[in-house]
Amino acid sequence: MTTETRLPFWRRYIFSTNHKVIAVQYLFTGITFLALGGLMALLIRWQLAYPWQPVPFIGKLLFAGSGGAVTPEAYPMLFTMHGGIMVFFAITPILLGALGNYTIPLEVGARDMAFPKLNMLSYWFLFVGSSILLVSFLVPGGAAGFGWTIYAPLSASTEVLPGWGQDLFILGLALDAVSILMGGVNYITTIMQLRAPGLTLRRLPLTLWGLFFSAVLNTLWLPIVASALFMVLCDRRLGTAFFLAGPLAPHTGGQVLLFQHLFWGFGHPEVYILILPVWGLVGDLLSVFARKPAFGYKATVWSMFAITILSGIVWGHHMFTSGMNPLVGKAFMVLTVTVSVPTAIFFLNWLGTLWRGAIRLTVPMLFTLGVVFVFAIGGLTGLFNALQTFDVYIHDTYFVVGHFHYTLAASVLFGTFAFIYFWFPKIFGRQMNTRLGQLHFWCSFVFLNAVFSVMMFLGLHGHMRRIADATAYEFLKPVQHWNVFIGWAALGLGLSQLLFFINFLYSLFKGAPTPANPWDAGSLAWTVSSPPPEHNYATPPRVFCGPHEYGVPSLTNGDWLSQTDPQAAKLARS
């Protein structure tokens, strides 16, 4: 196969089939949309803090018609696009697209993904999908306004939401789904088929296990929601009534709840699709920076497996108040609380990894520990939502919003940053600034908890989600000041991300050059130069031990073994 150095620019950096280039494309796309989604979050918080007041500075540009204030029509678009963008076009591209594409071939010791062309196609499907999403802001009637959960009949009837923005949102999502599926095929195949000699499944980095299981979940459940999305489109434009009933339906027989089943059948696994890679990353990074083998590696992997299975059969806990058959409710409740067993095992193994370690508090380590902290909150508050009787009270309130932002926003965001700070030297061959990184962590940590914990207290008070103006309700007036508080905390959170952007861009061009292995990490990727050569490995590396051989006794030069270190054969225990 031709080495790409001879290829023209556009083949090397734009329509490239090289997994490292594609990963960077995913990374930049993801970060861009992260910023966009964050901006929308700020607009939402402003509207909730100061209802119908003109948005300062940017208001005039965005909402010219209303003198700079968010309108009742614009508000649903804001939270719909915020959710859709964050889940499908920010977090997914970064954690699956970038992390997956970059690490998998390097860590399994392959020259590239199993299907490089498919890989390139996958990115460009995402690109087109995200472009369609952006275009949807400009069409008459504006962007989609049915909430990222796309609940029918609101989404499925043009009588209640006529604009083409709705259809474009669904179309963009469908394209993104195709892109993710292509990625999934590549990840699963590469991890299963292209492992270097000696790299048995027990020697895979935990990150790859996380990516593997999340790819499996995507391959299984994304098609389900895709089919539902197409049916919604038919309902909107072809006069069918799959999800329509009552006066809105052109003919009888449609079932409204069917959509919710199909959506959450995917929607709940989606939570784990996003968090599994983070869990894996946390396992690896704790091990690297505690200079100690990952505690209970096998137990962790089996817990991931258990969660992968469980996640597919608990979706009903999103529908306790939906009017579905109450008999199944209890089954879903019991299954849901069971999830906390594998989760508990994760936490015990993470703590076990730190126990008697030699902990180095680097920036990626800070964010990793941040994940452990915020996910403890996110996971434990999940139990509350599992309890039917309590859930019917806090369902669709800010308690739920706070909970899933702790798991999906806080944990996944910290995981994303841990990934970027840890892999930046390998990807770009330069170091990121440590001081800025630490500052970025502590600011994010404080503001993030301020925002999301207060949300849960609002939820306890009965504050519904997705309402544009809490002061419309008497019983919410006394807690309105908390909305103001969240607004300013959110602004702080947004501003502290500037530290990251500055650091990222500065280091990208001016950062100090870094050695091949700045972290003394043991996995395969760190045996090649930073940035790695065009095709990673001239010859397939031989692997002699697991990726977590730190603190090895009877080692004189350093305290760790690389996976390719021949003396591991007699020294390592994995």
Binding site: T189, A196, G239, F242, H251
Partner: protein, 195 residues
């Protein structure tokens, strides 16, 4: 490319070629996609108060014929693979072309069926059954179409003589896809047209 890298494989878990593994993973997602559609159909139908009797609306013999056409195409596809493995280029090209032709005729018959139904007033928006019928068969039809395109592409490649007893991977993997489409139709035919 696949073969270039699959040389690096230590001991593949399932010990099948990388390309075949990838195709199977893709088929997994295809199975789930049709699970979503067929599952919705089942749920909607069982939940409905009234449903037309089989044959009452649909032209069962015609669709039965279509089933035979698609089954035959599966046979020719299998023969094509066999020919490739035996290195008989002529038979390979013939069978690929035949498979594509059968796939096309399936689409043509389906198209005729659509037009006919539509004129009889059985449209996608006329009833829940209509919606389900056109949705399921429509998506299956799209899969057949893409399959036909794939086959023509393979045929062109075969004419360039890229396949041999040592090099028949792509024929085999495409075959998997084609047979999968066939299976889907067998199921759809039973649950839509007969039951």
């Amino acid at each position: 490319m696949d073969r270039a890298t699959s040389a690096e494989v230590e001991v593949p878990l399932l010990d099948i070629p990388t390309g075949k593994f990838g195709m199977w993973v893709f088929l997994v997602s295809e199975i789930m996609f049709f699970t979503g559609l067929i599952g919705s159909y089942i749920v909607l139908r069982l939940g409905a108060t009234s449903w037309p009797k089989p044959g009452e609306i649909l032209n069962t013999p015609l669709l039965g014929l279509n089933t035979l056409v698609l089954l035959s195409s599966s046979l020719t596809m299998a023969l094509a693979l066999h020919a490739a493995q035996q290195d008989c280029q002529g038979a390979l090209k013939r069978n690929l072309l035949l498979t594509a032709a059968l796939g096309t005729s399936f689409l043509l018959i389906k198209g005729y069926d659509y037009v006919h139904m539509w004129h009889k007033g059985f449209t996608i928006s006329s009833s829940l059954f209509g919606s389900c019928y056109y949705l399921l068969t429509g998506f299956h039809g799209l899969h057949v179409l893409s399959g036909v395109i794939l086959l023509v592409y393979l045929w062109a490649a075969a004419s360039r003589g890229v396949f041999s007893a040592a090099q028949y991977g792509r024929i085999e993997y495409s075959g998997l896809y084609w047979h999968f489409i066939d299976i889907v139709w067998v199921v759809l035919f039973a649950i839509l047209c007969l039951v």
